[in-house]
Symmetry: C2
Subunit: 419 residues, 2 copies
Amino acid sequence: MSDISDYMNKLGEQARKAAAHLARVTTKEKKLALESIARVIDENRSSLLEENEKDLQTGEQNGLDAALLDRLALNESRMDSMLEGILQVANLPDPIGEITDLKYRPTGIQVGKMRVPLGVVGIIYESRPNVTADAAALCLMSGNAAILRGGSEAIHSNKAIAKCIAQGLESAGLPSTSVQVVETTDRAAVGALITMPEYVDVIVPRGGKGLIERVSNEASVPVIKHLDGICHVYIDDDADNKKAIDVAFNAKTHRYGTCNTMETLLVSKLKAAEVLPELAVKYSEEGVELRGCQLSRDILPQAKPATEEDWKTEYLAPILSIRIVDGLDEAIEHINTYSSKHTDSIITENFTKARRFLNEVDSSSVMVNASTRFADGFEYGLGAEIGISTDKFHARGPVGLEGLTSQKYVVLGDGHIRE
Amino acid sequence: MSDISDYMNKLGEQARKAAAHLARVTTKEKKLALESIARVIDENRSSLLEENEKDLQTGEQNGLDAALLDRLALNESRMDSMLEGILQVANLPDPIGEITDLKYRPTGIQVGKMRVPLGVVGIIYESRPNVTADAAALCLMSGNAAILRGGSEAIHSNKAIAKCIAQGLESAGLPSTSVQVVETTDRAAVGALITMPEYVDVIVPRGGKGLIERVSNEASVPVIKHLDGICHVYIDDDADNKKAIDVAFNAKTHRYGTCNTMETLLVSKLKAAEVLPELAVKYSEEGVELRGCQLSRDILPQAKPATEEDWKTEYLAPILSIRIVDGLDEAIEHINTYSSKHTDSIITENFTKARRFLNEVDSSSVMVNASTRFADGFEYGLGAEIGISTDKFHARGPVGLEGLTSQKYVVLGDGHIRE
């Protein structure tokens, strides 16, 4: 344990030093470094596959299920997208150094805000080795040093990718400690990483709910976290039926395992008989299991009864709960009670109700006449995302480069003193 | 203890409910509520003074020193400024509901950000009863509910002010639980307040370093905190002598007890002989004790020797430490090592060095040719401040209404689905 904590302290110290350097590098240097990292990874494809094979074999021996093994596996096309991801980040606008709102004050001083890196970002993630390259790119481009802690099942792959990153950094003239991968699989390393505020400025956990809950409960460092995605679509009295059916179908069936997938459909009672039967046919063609409140089961007798538990459940599966509500007020109340504050959408042609929904639903993304599946860093134009925050402090919703930065005040004068 | 925790939970629940209401009220309603609170306080001046007198008497009996008793005391002119403060906040632009960056994406959806309240703000403060009115006004105007925990020495004054606030809220039609003062002096109440993330979204401690350290160490809720103010002025080789002397004098002597007061003066060795003698005369006229490094004592033999401890000390007193440095690099290194990341200023006519200082000094306010005393919410145009954050996460530097808000994404479509 004390060895682990010494080791983590060393990583922390090195990261802090690298961060001081990174805060000063130019956009061009960061871009070159990312390109250089991509090049080194590209040159080492075969050795990355070899290391990944070790992880896959250990995984099989340890009885990992097929889905986990699939997430763990690298192949040529996944390496292609890893490289593409790095180069995409390298071409994003650099947020660092941007000065905004520079204004003269009555005293004659000019006051503005300059965007600066947070410092050191700790990322804790599971199985997918491509997160190593992804997260490293986002941290670097936002001027932050990174300490990456992947899952033990991917340790060989992660170490191999880390080696490429370090080599890429060095050949671009940046400190190789700008991105460090924790090379021990000891769980105590996570405990240390999330409790060293002197070295780490923010933790981003990426993975299952268990991991994120553990990290947020035990961290003494700020955490950008996202627990559940219990997303709603509400079909209002004044919805256009075609839009309602299109969006409710897309929000559930476009992908089942993503956090921005709709889990509960709310329908105004005036609209239910018009849209539910057609929707039920479409869902049934996709094999989606329906669970409904009593009123909705009067229209859709094939639906199973929904329990209180259903309103609180992120299925991540072809299951949908349906509730008929009196109207907008009850819909907003249901959402603010059961939603995980991720993403919720109203389908309506009514201006005033759309405006109320946008104002009163307390979620990180609120939508009108659009599928919840749009809640995503790429779709929002952030270029990439390091996570989706369902908290309100610091960053909310999809977190891109800007979420990994802060703003300091700059004051310009000409010998100004305070009278 | 369990009584206290029940009591605090009740306050928390009520605050959460009030916050849901406050998030929806209009600018006009908030403005009217603040005006109504000011009116009720104005009508109850004599009873406020009576309650304050109780605190003063208890304070004297408990042997509080004169400075503390002075901070505790209300009088007509302090009540005037309390009212003025509330009305000033009532006239600030309302940050809530502002939608920015609403742009079309290639898919056809529009994506923007809407400013929303954080929810429930807990404020923990010491002696000065005017903070009760101040903090309540800032929280309300930013659409947040507030739970206020003042010092036990001001309990009668705080309860009396709280009563006026509740009455003002009610007569303006807002929930009286929008602002709640903790009515027990039991210290366990603080422990409870900072560990109920289900009810409290952020804690702002205002007071001495001991209080802030305790709160930040023990809180499981985000904290907007500011520990020390160890601020520097660096007089560069290329400084204009008059600006250098004016700013260095003002930054130290304008007020001694404030966090934005300069505590250490750094002077480039090429400039030292030109500015230090005149500055020393001016400081000595104000009774400022000088403590210097060896090089500076060669020029100012009257200065006491400065120790390593001096570079780390926030004197809050007429004491100044002086260090002669080789130039900009050493100045930046000294500042990034010893500064509390509050406010640091360079005096120079050199464009490139000014630019480097702004970029490379890692403090919440970085200045060129201006007194550190300008680091203040009013001077920066925030209208008022709830504190000065020396953290990077969420808010950095003076925190006004905007620091008590967050942004959610709004997405507008016309039946858009994700392909």
